[in-house]
Structures are given as C-alpha cells and as structure tokens.
Subunit: 334 residues, 2 copies
C-alpha cells in the first residue's frame, strides 16, 4: 500500500542524497587547475584509498599528516629565494644606520648592486646577510617588518607581490587534502618566523603547522614586559637530512603524504616512503620556461637530480608543471 | 487555522531545540570533577567571554591556543618525575649489558638502590642517566620501550600505572576547551618523545601538539632504510625561559590560555599574560596531602614560590586542589 508523504517529509528524506551529490560534485572539481593525467589521477586515487573506511589502506584521520616543502613546491623560488630578496631589501633599508657596511663585505657589494660579488663569500656571506637582517629584534618587530615588506615588494620578473607567486594547483591540493581529513604542514628550509607571517592567509596553514629553519631566541623582560629577542645564532636548519629531524621534533609521527621539488626534499620523501601502509610521495618538476621557469639537475636554486632519479626508480609521482598544470599562478586566470 | 502535522515532521521541528538543550546541559556538566568555586567560575566565565561572538573579548578560533605544563599540572610528579622513574627502571634493565656500570657513578649507586647518592652528582648525574637511557637507539625503538614500560610499571605509592595518575579535572578541562574551539598543547620540561607515546590516548593531545625537551637526532640510512637515531646530546630544554621559546618555535603565536604548577612555568604564564585582549593564567597548587601531595615553596620537585607570588599579585587563577577538585584521579571514582 502506498503511503502519502507530507511534502516536508519527502524533502527531508531527500537530504542525505543531496548531501552525497554535493560531495561527489565537489570531489570532481576539487583540483580544477590540474589537467587530467597521471599526476592528478595518482593524487585522487591515493586520497580515495586512504579515506575509504574498511579498505585495506584506510588511514585514521589523526594519522593523515601531509608535509610540503615551500620554495619551489608551494610558491616560486626564482630568480632567487624570496626570503633572500627580503634580506637584500632589508640590507638597503638598514644601510643608513649601518655606515660601516660601505666597507664591509658582503654588504659593500650588495649596496653597490653587485649580488654576485656579495654572494662570492658562499655560505658565510649568506649567513651574515641573514643574521644582520633577521636578528637583533623581537619576534613581534620581525613579524611587522615581514608583513610590511610583503605588502609592498614586487617580484622582479612577474611584477606581482611575492605572496601572489603561489602555485594555484598546490593551493587547491592543500585544500583538497584538508577536506579529506589531512592536517597540512610546511616543512621548509626557509625561516619559520618568515613563513608564518603569510602561511595562514595564502595556504590556509596555521603558524603551528609551519616547520622551518630557526634562529636562537632569548626571553627577556623589558621594563617588566616579556619579549623574545631573535639572536644572531642558528638554532636549526630544516633542510636535507634536517627535514625528517624537523618532522620528528615538531610532529612526532611519520607523514602519510609528502611533496617537494628538489634534492633538499629527498630525505623527507625517503622518510615518508619508509612508513608502513599507503604513502604518497610527490615532486614538482619545473618544466615550464614560458609560464614559470624550467630547471632541474644543474640548477643552483632548487637542484633536482638525485631525488628525480629516486622518484623515477621508485614510482613516486613527478608533476610535470608544463603538462600537468592548467594554471600556475592564480593571477593568470581571466 | 491549526495545521495538522505528520508526527515525523513534528519530531524534525523539535530537533534544533533538543540540540540546544543537549548543548546547555553539557556545558553545565563539562567540569563535573570541579567543585563550584572561584577557580571553576573563572574558567567558565573566561571561556564564555572569548567565545561570545560580537563580545568585546571574542577570540577567533584560530587564536584559541591553550598551553599546559605536564608534570604536576596534568599528572602527578611525586615522589619523583615519572620520566625519571622510567630512566631508573631502564638503568636496571640495561645493567646486565653494561657491566662497567657496577663501578661507575651515578649508575653504581643507582644499582645498589641508593637514589640519593646517585643524584648527589647533581645535574651532570641526571644528564648521564637520561642520556644512557634515552639515546643510542632509533625513535621507533624508544617509542616501543616507553610503551612497554607504561603498560607494566606501577607508581610506588598509588600502585597504579603511571598513565592513570592523570588529574581527572584537568582532563575534563582539556576536553571542555577543545569543545569550545581551543587547540590544546602540552609545553613541558619533560621529553617530547616520551610524552608523545601517551599524550593522545590520555589527554586527547596529538603528538604534534606536544612541546617538550628534546635530544639531537641523526637521520641515517640503515641497509637502505631511513631511521632517526637519538643522540646523547641535548637539543632543547623546554623549561623556565625555555617555555616561551618553545612556544614560539612550535606554535608561532602567543597562547590565550596557560596552566602550570611551578616556577618552571612562570615565564610561560608571563608571556601569555602580556598578550593583548583576554588571557587566562592558571596554577595548580598542590594542597592535598591526603588524596595527592601538599608542596609548594620549599619543594625540590615542582617548586612553587615566585609564580605563586606573581599569581596572587596579578589575580591569576590559583587552583586549590584540596578544595577545588571533587575528584583528583579517575580511579577514585566509584
């Protein structure tokens, strides 16, 4: 016997179905800036495998840890790391208060505009530049300086603000993973205090999920008010073998999903791969000289050589920027 | 005109009301192990203030960061820090493989059962014990050792497993804060790798929200398999002025809510208090010699002296265990 339903009840009965429909439409569209292809397919299939309850590769939400390198993986890193561009701008801004820099390398060359001569001093020169521009102030003062710089400085080639130089497909990927219960982290050689100024706004990654290189800090009371002073001393370098160490120090469990773009990410990818169960290892391969840059094995920035060999040997996902990404930067979109 | 409703529709219409009723009942009952009094009232009022949309003290969920000391704040710390009890048990377990310890302090005294003589060497002796028991193995091996120890070792006075020695009112507080959009963190002088073994299960705090003292780690490939080896070298001491430093390194923003129990937490409380807007600073005062322990200004463990003065001077919330807690340990409950 047919029962007649009140229209409201019929509507209510449809709701679970409508909800499912919304979800599936959304999933199909979650990565719109990715072309259909092996890379996108590998991502979507992996996420499906680890989130399917009762499936053999199911991963508990608490263990869905996804880690991303930043420079060259989430945003561009050419013609120089953006944090180095920040440091150089700071050297210029601070020069009037530091007259001694006119005769002192690497600052003298920098102020004459000769970046190559300035960096000829290698790691020591770089360290001096970083320390002179990232230390000797409180954490709050530093945050304000970075914020002001990001609001005004422009990328020399694109003419865009640096935090517009993020990769739209990766921003979509971060969002897609979070919608599937993943906790997304940055694990970068860049400075943690530097990245935290913009990570939440541009990537949706809160400061407490940003792992990076750090300088030592000193707690002080200034007129009874506590401050943290940034000291000119390295605390931790979150690069190469430092990346799995940084992951252990901060997260305390092994990632399920890792993405990088250079040999600096190799150990993080190896550490992720060596866990039991399903794991995803991805590499962004810079292959698009027109829309971005093309570089890999011989590059001084973001060299991708050993990690590319290992990715090919082990079947990790290598994203070919030119073919796999419909859009690279959000500002390209009409 | 009265309209006749299908019973199902009537039920559906009631659901939002039932939901609200559930919420308010739950709020009234969220801290059942706390006696009514100033401390409970201060907590509930603070949470209400910072979660009331449109209120002048409203705090965005992303900024609801709550930090807790562990030893003496979330679980007991008498007659010795539980991690020290672990280290002593490890010395005994390892002694057969380390015959040289029979003639070497602090191990010789320890193995004879003379703790006082063993610790007479002060910080250096303690460090030797910690290094001998917490280093020279991989992070995974260490995790298993701690897990096995927790499953079998018993507290000498209570006769309970150590992870049963957690404070029921504080476990309720953690849960209550999380239900109100807070992210809860441990910020402890204890070892991060040690606490992470049980923090999620006993406190609902995942490993990535545990900040503690750390030893240096080394990434290695062993037969092609990556491991992290715990080195006998201090990386970071998360105590006293180290606590705000640890908070900055890991969280990168200032807490809204902080709870400690000793002078080791003073700087963390000061750092929290110095932020703008509403902040909550709390101290657990051990006043119950019958159900727990009573100690403060003169204690060698968890000394509470300067922080108690500052709490009184600044109106921070001081929890009087004896009066404020209806139940201390879950196992007391009938």
């Amino acid at each position: 016997m047919m029962k007649r339903w009140n229209p409201l009840v019929r509507f209510a009965a449809l709701m679970p179905l409508m909800f499912l429909w919304t979800i599936s439409v959304w999933a199909a569209d979650a990565l719109p800036s990715w072309n259909e292809g092996k890379a996108k397919q590998a991502i979507v299939e992996f996420v499906k495998r680890v989130t399917t309850k009762g499936g053999k590769d199911f991963v508990l939400p608490a263990e869905r840890i996804a880690v991303f390198d930043n420079d060259g993986t989430l945003w561009a890193e050419q013609p120089m790391y953006f944090q180095l561009a920040f440091a150089l701008d700071r050297v210029k801004a601070l020069a009037p208060q530091r007259p001694e820099w006119k005769d002192k390398e690497p600052f003298a060359s920098l102020l004459k505009g000769d970046l190559k001569a300035a960096l000829a001093g290698g790691e020591r020169a770089l360290l001096e530049i970083v320390m002179a521009t990232h230390a000797g102030m409180t954490t709050e003062e530093f945050e304000k300086i970075v914020r002001d710089w990001l609001a005004t400085a422009k990328h020399p080639k694109a003419g865009r603000r640096y935090n517009e130089m993020t990769y739209q497909p990766m921003v979509e990927l971060l969002r897609y993973l979070r919608a599937n219960g993943f906790k997304t982290f940055i694990v970068s050689g860049g400075g943690a205090d530097f990245m935290r100024v913009f990570s939440e706004k541009v990537y949706g990654i809160p400061p407490e999920q940003v792992i990076g290189s750090t300088g030592k800090l000193k707690f002080e009371l200034r007129d009874g008010k506590p401050v943290l002073v940034k000291l000119p001393e390295i605390d931790f370098i979150d690069d190469k073998a430092g990346k799995p160490v940084g992951i252990q120090k901060h997260i305390g469990r092994r990632p399920t999903f890792a993405f990088g773009n250079s040999d600096g990410d190799l150990q993080m990818l190896q550490w992720t791969a060596a866990g039991g169960g399903a794991r995803f290892m991805g590499i962004v391969h810079h292959t698009d000289a027109d829309r971005e840059w093309a570089y890999d094995r011989k590059s001084h920035i973001g060299q991708l050589d050993k990690a590319l060999d290992e990715a090919n040997a082990k079947g990790w996902t290598v994203v070919n920027m030119k073919n796999d990404w419909k859009v690279i930067f959000a500002f390209e979109k009409k």
